[in-house]
């Protein structure tokens, strides 16, 4: 679970000094007062000693509005703050849970592992960084891919996880994306890719760069086959991933507040020596600059995706005895 950094202010642990409630000092036996105080302290201690981890597990503070949220409620709300609609980052496995029909997800290409083609060492060797990333994220790579159904619509689904190696794209991510696209083309499935990435993985050098070409090239055949590809941009998507499959969707959706771009904000500010607008590279900024079709809240994402898939894949049969139509998809911000 997420634990927002630095929100455990000292104040949240401070409680009022133990006081004998309901009794005034005057009409109380001193002995009783001490006994009472001891008891109160013990009671307080039973409740009090939450370790940071336990506290974090129970409570999460919203990054944006600073509201303390009960983690269980937050999870039920798909990790969207109910108060300010801040979208917390979610892992690939959680996404699968949020989006697909229960039990329908079948992972493919789970057996691909990164190697170390350059023998890359900076302050640490790349293989060690890989092991650390795996231990920290519980994932072997930054992309989870497979097939599933969404409201009984079969789909090919790939989800990047920023929690693993900053969602960076090396050979394995590129290969898994390419294979997923090829699988979707072969089975004539709609393709949905969730992006969340810091860019190409430097430790695999030029081979990482080549994954941009590999994935985009796979999408060319998919595109020519007349199949649907929906790209979902999530916080954050940058660099090589943006400059390849993320920007090639027939339909591009962004989650509210997600930051998406090619070059990072800091690099641009250093280059042009001027301050950028506060909302620069946010989903909403992208929408107003014509770069995405719509910004969709996570709580509406599943139904939007299903609507779009059914719109593009189902035969347009008039429903017997009823003029009822599925709701049209309204471009722009849904929800």
């Amino acid at each position: 679970m997420f634990c927002s950094r630095g929100f455990l202010s000292e104040n949240s642990f401070q409680r009022a000094a133990p006081r004998p409630e309901g009794l005034s000092d005057n009409d109380m036996d001193l002995k009783e007062w001490f006994a009472n105080r001891k008891k109160k302290q013990e009671q307080a201690e039973v409740k009090q000693p939450l370790t940071t981890e336990e506290y974090c597990a129970l409570w999460t503070q919203c990054f944006q509005c600073r509201e303390l949220l009960y983690t269980k409620d937050l999870r039920e709300n798909l990790h969207v703050c109910p108060k300010c609609l801040y979208h917390f980052r979610v892992g690939a496995e959680q996404r699968v849970e949020q989006l697909t029909d229960p039990g329908s997800f079948e992972e493919i290409d789970a057996n691909l592992r990164s190697s170390d083609p350059l023998g890359f060492v900076d302050s640490e060797p790349y293989p060690k960084r890989l092991r650390d990333a795996e231990r920290k994220s519980g994932l072997v790579e930054a992309l989870l891919s497979g097939t599933a159904t969404m409201e009984e619509n079969p789909v090919a689904l790939g989800i990047m996880d920023f929690g693993h190696f900053g969602g960076s794209m090396g050979s394995v991510v590129g290969e898994k994306v390419a294979r997923l696209i090829e699988h979707a083309e072969e089975k004539r499935l709609p393709l949905i890719l969730f992006s969340s990435s810091g860019g190409a993985r430097m430790q695999e050098g030029i081979l990482s760069l080549m994954q941009l070409a590999k994935t985009s090239s796979a999408l060319k055949s998919f595109h020519d086959a007349g199949l649907l590809y929906i790209s979902v941009l999530t916080e954050p998507t940058y660099g090589g991933v943006t400059a390849s499959f993320a920007m090639l969707g027939d339909i591009i959706i962004a989650e509210p507040g997600a930051r998406v771009g090619f070059a990072g904000r800091r690099v641009i500010e250093q280059t042009i020596r001027q301050k950028l607008p506060a909302d620069f590279q946010t989903a909403e900024y992208l929408l107003s600059h014509g770069q995405v079709d719509m910004v969709v809240e996570r709580t509406k994402l599943r139904e939007t995706l299903v609507q779009l898939i059914e719109f593009h894949t189902k035969q347009n049969k008039p429903k017997s005895g009823s003029s009822q139509q599925t709701e049209p998809v309204i471009p722009g911000r849904a929800g």
Binding site: P117, E175, L209, A213, A218, K220, T242, F262, V267, I268
Partner: protein
Amino acid sequence: MVDQKITPLEFEKPLALLAQQIELLEKQIGEGAHPELENDLDRLNQQYDQLKRSLYSNLRGIDHLALARHPQRPYTRDYLGRWDSAWIEMHGDRKGVDDPAMVTGLLRMGDHKVVVCGTQKGRTIHEKKNCNFGMPQPEGYRKALRLFQHAEKFQLPIINLIDTPGAYPGLAAEEHNQAEAIAVNLRELSGLTVPVISVITGEGGSGGALAIGVANRILMLEHSVYSVISPEGCASILWRSADKVAEACTAMKMTAREIKQLGVADEVVTEPLGGAHHDADFAAEKLREALVRHLNELTKMSPKELRKDRQNKFRRLGAFVES
């Protein structure tokens, strides 16, 4: 003999020093003052040749980088003019902009008529500014795409010359969707049915280079470099230090020979000793010969084969373990 007009790089300083001594000696001998110095001159000249050969055969990554960025290195227009003085320049993305950092045109090369696209760095201060130091805007990539489509329509081979630090990290570039411009080029280049050859002539900087780099054949000039991120960027992110550029160059394996070993480049094209800027005519001719050879091969392939060949080339790239 050394061309004194060429600015020596840091690692070339010992060589430049020796050249100065030789010149001094030559002057003295020329004045007829000390005929006995002739022997010394021969010795120094020998030393010079030896030093030069050993210097350029033991270059580190960062030395190649310095050569690739040499301010006197031939740029795209220098090659095009030498290959075909009557080449026809084409302008504009047809959507409002003509990006001078992306040069496009039509050119004859041997028996071949080709479409050329290339990034252009500027020589003078004014040119450099105008060309944005070789960093195209999204409109530049879209201009190239227009020429790719032109080539496809008229079934003309494409030659792309790459020498760019990368795409420009600017406000307008992001607002005009740089990432999309690059991504679309990657996708569309992969689907073309004409021969595509890309050459890294200097710097191959990341996505901004790849945007015209999805080709049937990738050639690299001997001292050119190709990397996923600039070595400066890599050093600052992974080493958190601007002083570690040399380490980043070595770690990323970005020299022409290394990129070929990794299976990305197909051929390393020899440069004149010391780099292409020592003899631009020779460099241009060597590259022209290589290009014609590849064009001769590729034009024998059918449109379908060409597309498949290009897609297969990139489909295979990558290193992973499958358990």
